[in-house]
């Protein structure tokens, strides 16, 4: 009969098991702790000027403490809206192409979008500057920078992210759903539009949200495109954005504006946090149904 007593081998395994469990736990805590420290630090520093007037006023150079970042928030929201408007149709349609098409061209497109995803954001900003803003400024001196150009730069950055998510989510849709629709004599386009895309919708929305959260904090591409502004301007001209405002206040010589940089950062983080939670919430709602 086999003995039920512990053996040296079993003991060794238990020790190893405990050791690796502890290691994994410690690493997880370190990862979370960094995030927690950043958030806590930001909160402590940023809360000073985190009050209603901060969101409803423009910067005040005479009395900085009375100023706000209303124009930066509006600018960011508008720029991100344009980025969404550009990246959602292009990203989703090219994602459908990736998921459905086969062959050499498809592989080339996939590779190139990976390359696009790897291009540093500042290069994309420079690209828009070189092909759009500079030529325009040469014809119309003093003009050229605009919120639209900034939105385009962020939109270009989002395209590969949205495309990749769409591609992956469409691949998760079971073949049986395709079959069920095609077996009714439904054309392929109608199957994609009314059966397959709706079942991948939550995943795609989440992916778009995460892509948006990623580009919302981008500073480099905006430096060359929207320029920044002390006032509330139309989207067709130079506008301000949260990352630019953060950079400006952080490098300012005025201690009040230095402190306000933290509040700006807190605002930016909170917007991204809300977007991420919203995205997470949408996936969970999707799983339930």
């Amino acid at each position: 009969m086999t003995s039920l007593a512990s053996t040296p081998v079993l003991f060794q395994r238990r020790v190893l098991n405990a050791l690796f469990q502890a290691l994994c736990g410690i690493c997880a805590i370190i990862a979370i702790a960094v995030l927690g420290y950043v958030l806590w630090f930001l909160f402590r520093q940023g809360i000073t000027y985190f009050k209603p007037s901060f969101f409803t006023r423009l910067p005040d150079n005479v009395n900085p403490a009375l100023g706000g970042i209303k124009h930066s928030i509006l600018g960011s929201v508008n720029i991100l809206g344009i980025a969404l408007g550009i990246s959602i149709p292009i990203g989703i349609l090219s994602g459908i192409y990736q998921a459905e098409a086969n062959g050499k061209l498809c592989q080339i497109v996939r590779f190139l979008t990976d390359v696009l995803n790897g291009i540093p954001s500042i290069v994309i900003g420079l690209f828009i500057y070189a092909i759009w803003i500079l030529p325009y400024a040469q014809k119309h001196p003093g003009q050229g920078y605009s919120g639209i150009a900034g939105g385009a730069a962020l939109g270009i950055m989002m395209i590969p992210l949205v495309m990749r998510t769409t591609d992956e989510m469409l691949h998760l849709v079971p073949q049986s759903l395709w079959d069920a629709s095609l077996a009714l004599g439904t054309p392929r386009w109608r199957t994609m539009l009314f059966v397959v895309l709706p079942s991948a919708r939550n995943g795609i929305v989440t992916g778009i949200m995460l892509a948006l959260a990623r580009v919302a904090g981008e500073t480099a591409p905006l430096l060359f495109t929207v320029l920044g502004n002390e006032f509330l301007g139309p989207i067709t001209g130079p506008v301000d954005a949260l990352p630019l405002r953060l950079y400006k206040y952080a490098t300012s010589s005025d201690p009040v504006q230095n402190a306000m940089a933290w509040s700006t950062a807190l605002t930016l983080i909170l917007i991204i946090l809300i977007l991420s939670i919203l995205a997470r919430f949408l996936t969970r709602a999707g799983k339930r149904s």
């Binding site: 759903l177 069920a180 054309p187 009314f194």
Partner: protein
């Protein structure tokens, strides 16, 4: 028994790449009857079923030779639209696959695609299909709720209602009960027996008792070949071939 021929199959062979799955299949399937295909896993019966509504078209590297005629028309003729063919030859799958939409929209999807009805007429069509699929009483008060919330057996009956909604002539069923409990299976079998009055039903099943209970004709597939095809009475009672006899008596498979 004098019957009209619905589907004629001549010398059909089928390949997945270089792998031949069907060898020279010949048969005539009668109209308004239930024809069952039996055989061990991987014998080609599902592949053959999917040839009948050209569901294999999408598989890369697949190839079919031979001829399949539906009411005298070659289904692979260039003048045949695959959408129209699949409307005429509906299909119910092994696992129930409701679309991620409401019960009503599931049934209305096909008629909307083919623009068969709208408004009041569409409501009536949906109701009729759900009644025919023996599901109406259970769902009539929640037509707008998600089809995903139905039980497995209800979902499969919904899929049958969805298939009926585009008024096919032939209904293909690929092991429609294998994912269901005995009670749901019984209801679907009753349904199939009723459906044959108006439709030609072709069913693939692993359940020999089921084939015996509900089918008029039976085909026995083995390793891609149609070993025996005839009335179910003959195939199950006095099979002509030894392989058939061995299979239906549980000596292999």
């Amino acid at each position: 028994m004098q019957t009209t021929t619905c589907v004629t199959v001549q010398n059909v062979s089928f390949w997945y790449g270089s792998n031949q799955a069907l060898f020279d299949i010949n048969m005539t399937i009668p109209q308004h009857a239930v024809t069952a295909f039996i055989g061990p896993s991987g014998c080609g019966k599902s592949t053959f079923l999917r040839c009948l509504n050209r569901m294999n078209d999408r598989i890369d590297g697949s190839k079919m030779t031979g001829k399949i005629e539906l009411s005298g028309q070659d289904i692979r003729d260039r003048s045949v639209s695959v959408e129209a063919l699949r409307r005429t030859v509906g299909m119910v799958f092994q696992k129930p696959v409701p679309f991620p939409m409401s019960i009503y929209d599931n049934v209305a999807f096909g008629p909307r695609t083919h623009q068969l009805a709208r408004g009041r007429a569409l409501d009536e069509l949906v109701e009729k299909c759900l009644i025919d699929a023996a599901l109406w009483d259970e769902v009539k008060d929640k037509l707008k709720s998600s089809a995903m919330a139905l039980s497995g057996g209800q979902q499969q009956r919904l899929c049958i209602a969805r298939t009926l909604s585009v008024s096919p002539d032939v209904i293909l069923m690929d092991e429609p009960c294998s994912a269901l409990d005995p009670n749901s299976t019984h209801r679907i079998e009753e349904l199939i027996t009723r459906l044959k009055n108006a439709y030609t039903v072709i069913i693939v099943t692993h359940n020999l008792q089921q084939a015996k209970r509900i089918s008029d004709m039976t085909g026995f597939f083995l390793r891609g070949e149609l070993v025996e095809f005839g009335s179910s009475e003959t195939v199950f009672g006095t099979p002509a071939r030894k392989e058939t006899d061995d299979y239906i008596n549980g000596r292999f498979g």
